[in-house]
């Protein structure tokens, strides 16, 4: 068995992401097999993973409306008001940070010691080009009536 197949990222992300959205956004997230392209107006968080035996990244892609709703809940924005772009970006970064942080902990517990970067947030529709050797997995969830995606790039060596 290779290192790559020994670590089932999907088994973890399928648990981690719903737990994060349930706890932080008070919203149920369910895995969906609908892998159609996401909304064009979206906000993405990105976190790098670096270690002795694994490198990679975690991306969280959120439709802009979802990110605003999540920011409204997490920051307790008053009814009738909208979170600012800066607040929405920060909430997206933090949600990405929590998902990546939990994944990092699971990787470390499995013997793949690594560290994570601080989050970057990007607005707009784009696709991520995988570096050579990376295994890329996309996980789509339905949450607050919208599709969101967690994209994980990992290279075990």
């Amino acid at each position: 068995m290779t290192a790559t197949t020994a670590f089932d990222v999907g088994a973890h992300i399928r648990d981690i992401a719903p737990d994060v959205f349930e706890t932080m956004v008070s919203a149920r997230a369910e895995l969906t097999e609908n892998h159609a392209p996401l909304a064009l107006e979206r906000i993405s968080g990105a976190i790098g993973i670096v270690g002795d035996s694994v490198t990679g990244a975690v991306y969280l892609h959120l439709p802009e409306l979802f990110a605003q709703q999540a920011a409204g809940v997490m920051l307790a924005v008053a009814a009738g008001q909208l979170a600012t772009d800066s607040e929405t970006n920060d909430v997206t970064g933090e949600l990405t940070n929590i998902i990546a942080g939990v994944l990092k902990s699971v990787l470390c517990d499995a013997g793949y010691f690594c560290a994570v970067s601080t989050p970057s947030v990007i607005r707009g529709a784009f696709s991520v080009e995988a570096s050579p050797g990376m295994d890329v997995d996309h996980f789509y969830f339905l949450c607050l009536g919208q599709r969101i995606a967690v994209e994980v790039h990992l290279n075990f060596f």
Binding site: S86, D90, N97, I99, V102, S105, C108, T118
Partner: protein, 129 residues
Amino acid sequence: MKILSVDDSKTIRMIVKRTFAPFDCTVLEACNGEEGLATALAEKPDLIVLDITMPVMDGVTMLGKLKENPEIKSIPVIMLTAESGRENVAYIAKLGVRDYLVKPFKDDQLIEKVKRVIALQPKAEAVAA
């Protein structure tokens, strides 16, 4: 009572602030370990809620410097982190933190952890209401 929230995420600092709004305490904010140390020295908070991964100076480095400084080394620290791996938890326990809370977290979990360390009292107006 003064609680210092040290986190690069404004979201987490705002959650901490909102969580303790009903209590008779002031929440101070710092967005990295360097600012956190400066604020701890200037304000002498009763408790620090500290993130680990931050730019400029991370939480582990800040904790080490805090424990080296006689003026502030006795301030209790609760780590608030998404990094809950066994090695990580064992490491931060050795650094002398009072407790840790793993993200994602609910407000009442944070209140419970903090109440174990400092005597939080409801705000007078909250009691009156």
